[in-house]
């Protein structure tokens, strides 16, 4: 934390990414993500409470509340107790600080599952996992003191800070990439009564890797291609859309892989893949004439090649630096800085309605969640979820634990066709997929 005030409470500035979230967030745009851990035993509320309390002593950057300054929000130390509740609501709902002792994360549990919902201003998915993993370790150590010697693990010093790594690493000279084309927006009715559907496709990670190898693609590339294919089949084609806008997939990038940083604050950027349906359709039509027939596999291979190419072009340090620097420069702009917070809120919320039209879907893959030694024996798998929004009605996320890669669709769209196309595609490739959901939408594994 940056400074100390008279009441001895500490505070810190929001990092460059975090600044935007409290300004734009609301009940409809919660900007909340969730990480869940499925244990092999029922959760004990009291032990969980103790574990969270202890984890907060180690990761004090999470023990904060949001305060409004004149120009920006900032984080201040929070000395209240954390509230632990049984899960009742839909996942990734807006975290109302007033109902949560001012904390920016919420811990809930249900049967064997522990959830952490995190407001994105606090941190990103990568650091969220670090904090959540600590809670799980502490929980298991408190539950099974005979199995785990917690001192062994706790003696290891954790090395982190809360610096704004954007400011440290951005380049003033780098020029940003401007995308001017609006994206294809998923069509269909929204689910009534404010409900959010969560569908988890639990994929056999080894089989998936084997399949990816066949195409010389990474797991993220392959699943991105399956996602675009599913959107095309399950939404664009099914609803006979005539939109000429491209399917744009936003893929968050963990900047810690590219720049040195030990921050627990946000440090991510993103890249956007724009798959142009119109052109692809034209190509397909041409080929139809040429070959008389084109099957779904050919179409998928085309999409996958496009995705691989985009990754190759956009996932370079230079390109990432461009995107990151453009965002930092915007936040650093003296004019923007000098606008009072209340006015900023109005301007940002108005512009956000427009900005959100530039993405069809987001897919965030946080990768493998590493768990040490015997702790693994008590865990089934992890889940990652991102809050859907009125424009971006479906958001996708993925994480892997041991041999289980869980691909999650969180949706407010009253139609599970995309999820079903995704499931059927993997099944056709003989990849084992198991479905878990909150049953807001029908079970896709049981449908014809």
């Amino acid at each position: 934390m940056k400074t100390k005030n008279k009441e001895n409470t500490t505070w810190r500035r929001l990092d460059n990414s975090a600044k935007i979230f409290p300004i734009s967030a609301g009940k409809k745009y919660s900007t909340v993500f969730r990480i869940s851990c499925l244990l092999k035993e029922k959760v004990n509320k009291e032990i969980l409470k103790k574990a969270v309390k202890e984890a907060l002593k180690r990761y004090t950057s999470f023990k904060v509340k949001m305060k409004a300054g004149f120009f920006w929000y900032y984080l201040e130390e929070n000395n209240k107790d954390v509230i632990i509740e049984e899960e009742k609501d839909y996942p990734c709902k807006y975290i109302d600080p007033k109902k949560n002792n001012d904390y920016l994360f919420k811990i809930t549990y249900f049967e064997n599952k522990i959830n952490i919902d995190i407001f994105h201003s606090l941190t990103d998915g990568g650091s969220g996992v670090v904090f959540f993993r600590e809670i799980i370790y502490l929980y298991l150590e408190l539950m099974h003191p005979d199995v785990f010697n917690r001192n062994d693990r706790l003696l290891r010093k954790i090395d982190y800070n809360t610096e704004d790594s954007y400011m440290k690493n951005y380049s003033k000279k780098a020029k940003g990439n401007v995308s001017s084309k609006k994206a294809y927006i998923l069509k269909g009715k929204k689910i009534k009564l404010g409900a959010i559907s969560a569908i988890h496709e639990i994929i056999d990670a080894d089989k998936l890797k084997e399949e990816c190898k066949k195409y010389e693609a990474t797991v993220t590339q392959y699943l991105t291609a399956v996602l675009i294919y599913s959107i095309y089949k399950g939404n664009y084609e099914k609803l006979k859309s005539k939109s000429k806008r491209p399917i744009k997939v936003c893929i968050p990038v963990n900047l810690k892989k590219y720049f040195p940083s030990k921050t627990m604050s946000n440090f991510f950027s993103y890249m956007t893949l724009a798959y142009n349906i119109e052109n692809k359709n034209k190509n397909i039509e041409k080929e139809k004439e040429e070959k008389k027939e084109i099957n779904n596999t050919d179409m998928f291979i085309k999409i996958l090649n496009f995705v691989k190419n985009e990754f190759k072009e956009k996932l370079t340090e230079e390109e990432i630096l461009k995107t990151m620097s453009a965002n930092v420069k915007l936040g650093n702009n003296l004019f923007i800085k000098s606008i009072p917070l209340e006015l900023k809120k109005i301007l940002v919320r108005l512009s956000y309605i427009e900005i959100r039209k530039y993405t069809t879907i987001t897919f965030s893959n946080i990768g493998r969640i590493g768990i040490i030694g015997k702790y693994k024996d008590y865990i089934e798998y992890f889940l990652m979820l991102i809050a859907p929004e009125p424009v971006e009605k479906i958001k996708c996320s993925g994480c892997t634990f041991e041999n289980k890669m869980v691909f999650t669709f969180t949706s407010i769209l009253n139609d599970n066709s995309i999820e079903k196309e995704f499931y059927n595609f993997l099944k056709e490739k003989n990849i084992s997929v198991q479905i878990e959901s909150n049953e807001v939408l029908d079970d896709i594994s049981k449908e014809n």
């Binding site: 869940s36 049967e111 409900a195 969560a198 807001v440």
Partner: protein, 187 residues
């Protein structure tokens, strides 16, 4: 099962449609009763406005994620007080007691009834507000028995709807209602 049970999207679609039809039927029924019993006083127009008002409040509350029951209770009390005050200021003819308050109570009970049916699984958070609204709903009956109101028809309908609300609540959520009372009033 890794999530608490939630209403399926196709069910919620049906529920919303059924409630719309129910609202329409209640509106038509009250208009017919109005025409038959007291055609000189167009109170059905107010009840129908109330039904529309309930829908607006419900949509707002769902979007804003606020406790609808608390919202309904607050509005019931405030609007009741406001109408009594207006009646008093313009010479107290008693319309606030014989028309406004029964209509407000009717609408509040209908709103709570809808809420109970839709979300009886998380009823606990609404129970105390529901109980207060039910207690407040005794008012028209008291006004009628004490002969304070001259035209009791709306008071009778309001009491009937309150009783119906009470019965359905007891059938669906008596356990939660009991738990809420024990929790709030423990010594």
């Amino acid at each position: 099962m890794i999530y608490p049970k939630k209403i399926n999207a196709s069910h919620s679609e049906i529920i919303v449609r059924l409630l719309l039809i129910l609202s329409l039927l209640v509106g038509i029924l009250l208009t017919i009763i109005n025409k038959i019993t007291s055609p000189n006083i167009p109170w059905a127009a107010f009840t129908n406005c109330g039904i529309i008002y309930v829908w607006l409040v419900t949509i707002y509350s769902i979007n804003k994620n606020v406790n609808i029951a608390g919202y309904v209770l607050l509005q019931t009390i405030l609007i009741s007080l406001l109408t009594v005050y207006i009646d008093y200021r313009i010479g107290f003819k008693g319309w606030s007691l014989s028309i406004s308050i029964p209509i407000i109570i009717m609408v509040a009970n209908l709103a709570m009834l809808i809420l109970t049916i839709i979300s009886y699984k998380k009823y606990l958070r609404y129970a105390i507000y529901q109980l207060i609204i039910l207690l407040f709903s005794i008012l028209p009956a008291i006004l009628i028995t004490e002969k304070i109101v001259t035209n009791p028809i709306l008071g009778i309908i309001a009491t009937g709807i309150s009783l119906l609300n009470l019965i359905i609540t007891l059938i669906l959520s008596s356990k939660d209602l009991k738990e809420a009372v024990v929790r709030k009033f423990h010594m």
